[in-house]
Amino acid sequence: MSGRDRVLGRVRRALADVPADDLAYETAVDRGYAREHGGRTVEETVDLLAENLADYRAIVHRCTEDEVSDLLMRLYAERGSETVLVPPELPPHWLAAADPVRIHDRAVSTPHQLDRVDSVITGCALAIAETGTIVLDGSPDQGRRRITLVPDHHVCVVRVPGQVVASVPQALERLAPLRPLTWISGPSATSDIELDRVEGVHGPRTLEVVLMSGA
């Protein structure tokens, strides 16, 4: 007998007490919990996102779409980044003013090559205000999962207010499960040593989030 048959057989025998007409999924769960917590205007939701991102030590910037290129140039200059990883379809005008050498996200790049890049820039799928989370779904303006992981500095541009949702339930409604998803809330962190929080063990030690409003 296969492992599959044995495990499923055991499950079925273990559940002999459950009646066949047990509650269906649709009625088994009371979903009276909130779709979002508290009433906020659109501006307040964006403010809350900024506040919660900063609370977990992401560095938050705000600009209009016209200003984004200059802002990014300044961020790279301040950090001394000479190379920046770029996903396949990042809007070209974002980096129009930036000096660093663009490294393209290519399947053949080895992790060691990615490790030598100074910074990475991406867009995002959406951002969640209540938790201070940005979500990447591998779309062409975000690239493969590994490019936002190996370099030490990640700049993520969030279009506000269009890409901002209030809560986790609202986020899941808008995401496609079949895409690989990465939820990021602040930079990499650990609390394993006497519960003192230390930023950056394995992922990017610096996360900068640009909240970009239309023109």
Binding site: V18, P180, I193
Partner: protein
């Protein structure tokens, strides 16, 4: 070395007695549990609908468990449709065999691992070692445990029993044997220690061809697996290697995508007291040119179906491994995680381990007693597992024996031997309470001989008093005192109470 089943562990009372005498351990634990506990309360208070989320989480898990066969089959179809391969393992040995064969098929002799309770439970690292495959733990705390040839002592922060000085010593002494040595002049500041771990592990991540993980959730509807973490080591292991093998307990399945909205709100707040953990990865099968090109899911039973067969005890399978119950437990706080003799310590371990492994060993028979039944664990549980109810249920099982399921078969358990004295004492008490004269005579005798009473019981009572302080017998039995002060006649004198 991390161990699977902690073979040869003494029963809880002996292990706890030793741990309670370790003042460093107690200080480390007290600091840690109180810190997380207080932060957690604040994080939970932010959500006005916490009770509704908790109830929904409970209902989702209960519903899934009651139809587990259906959801496992659906999960299998979804994962395979998305390009993954599903394997089924009845027990630890079978799971370890499947994983070792999968690794060997890649031609690799080393793997990187995401922290996973399931692989700890089955002793995967040791099994792989026996096959000539080295498994590197990449979570900082698991690294500390692995380098220190130690065992984890907490679900969320496995090295909680170590302070920074101990961690520095372990890094200095052991890192070189496992790869890149610790930097010269390493101090004990958390920042430097984390940096040393980053350098040590990064070279492993960058060359790794095989990653091994567990999962926090599996969605039957879509085939999506979810791993929540903080450090990014999980993302490294899940996305850089060419082959990914996930070993996951069958109880981790949830029916629908939407169900994640409940647990992604309750898990981080209950466990690390954060609004959201820094990184959550979700993947469905394989994705072209992004992440591993081979994905294997090993569905693990290993005692879970036996637990499922117990109508009272099955609620333990709702557990989402947040560890909130450990941090509020007065027993865990003093005894520490190692005393539980299992990868699952604390209140949840006290009900999960004896169900997964049976109550045949001394340590497993003692675990249902490793509690004061104060109920704090139930109060904080984000899926409302009534841990005290299950503890009492398991105590009854240990003392009286009865029907249970082991290895998929119904068996009749005998009463545990060590508890014969307790049963005899209870019978004697029953007799005495039914005969007031005998009780009065006995109490008076006890008062008059109180200076002669030993601190521990002799003979068969020794086991009982080994983990308890015997109560002091009062100078005068209550019923005599009542008779003397409030009863007819005598009253007045307090001479008898003067000491």
């Amino acid at each position: 070395m991390s161990g699977g089943t902690f073979v040869g562990m003494p029963a809880f009372p002996a292990a706890a007695r030793e741990a309670v005498g370790d003042t460093t351990l107690r200080a480390n634990l007290r600091h840690a549990t109180h810190t997380i506990r207080n932060k957690r309360a604040r994080a939970v208070a932010e959500l006005s609908d916490w009770d509704l989320l908790r109830e929904a989480g409970k209902q989702i898990k209960d519903h899934t468990l009651r139809h587990l066969d259906r959801y496992l089959v659906q999960l299998e179809e979804s994962v395979e449709r998305a390009g993954g391969t599903v394997h089924w393992a009845c027990d630890a040995e079978e799971a370890n065999r499947i994983v070792a064969d999968l690794v060997r098929a890649t031609g690799e002799t080393e793997v990187v691992k995401v922290k996973s309770m399931a692989t700890q439970e089955i002793g995967l690292n040791e099994a792989l070692e026996a096959e000539g495959i080295r498994a590197y733990e990449t979570d900082l705390a698991e690294l500390i445990v692995q380098l220190g040839r130690d065992r984890p002592s907490h679900i969320l922060v496995p090295a909680i029993h170590r302070n920074r000085g101990e961690i520095r010593d372990i890094f200095r002494k052991e890192m070189a044997d496992w790869g890149r040595p610790a930097p010269d002049g390493l101090t004990d500041t958390p920042t430097e220690l984390a940096e040393a771990a980053r350098l040590h592990l990064r070279e492993k991540f960058l060359r790794a061809k095989v990653g091994i993980s567990g999962a926090n959730f599996m969605v039957a509807e879509t085939g999506t697996l979810v791993v929540v973490e903080s450090e990014g080591n999980g993302r490294m292991c899940l996305t850089l290697p060419e082959t990914l093998i996930s070993v996951v307990g069958i109880e981790k399945v949830v029916p629908g995508w939407r169900d994640l909205e409940v647990f992604l709100q309750t898990l981080p707040r209950s466990s690390t007291a954060e609004r959201m953990n820094p990184y959550t990865s979700m993947w469905t099968g394989t994705t072209d040119q992004d992440g591993p090109n081979a994905f294997h899911l090993v569905l693990l039973d290993n005692g879970r179906t036996d637990t499922l067969a117990d109508e009272v005890g099955r609620q333990a399978l709702r557990c989402i491994r947040c560890s909130a119950c450990l941090n509020v437990c007065p027993v865990y706080e003093r005894a520490g995680g190692h005393a539980y003799g299992s990868v699952y310590p604390g209140p949840i371990g006290a009900i999960l381990s004896p169900q997964l492994r049976g109550t045949g060993s001394d340590i497993d028979a003692s675990l249902p007693y490793a509690s004061s039944l104060c109920g704090a664990c139930y109060e904080v549980c984000p899926v409302a597992i009534d841990i005290p109810e299950v503890l009492v249920h398991l105590r009854e099982r240990v003392v009286q024996g009865g029907e249970a399921t082991r290895g998929g078969n119904r068996v009749m358990l005998k009463p545990a031997k060590g508890h014969a004295a307790e049963r005899a004492a209870m019978r004697a008490a029953g007799l005495a309470f039914a005969r007031p004269g005998a009780l009065r005579a006995g109490q008076r005798l006890a008062s008059r001989t109180r200076r002669l009473h030993p601190r521990t019981l002799p003979g068969p009572g020794r086991a009982w008093s080994a983990s308890r302080d015997l109560p002091e017998v009062p100078v005068e039995p209550f019923r005599d005192w009542w008779q003397r002060t409030r009863g007819d006649g005598s009253g007045g004198t307090t001479e008898g109470n003067a000491q």
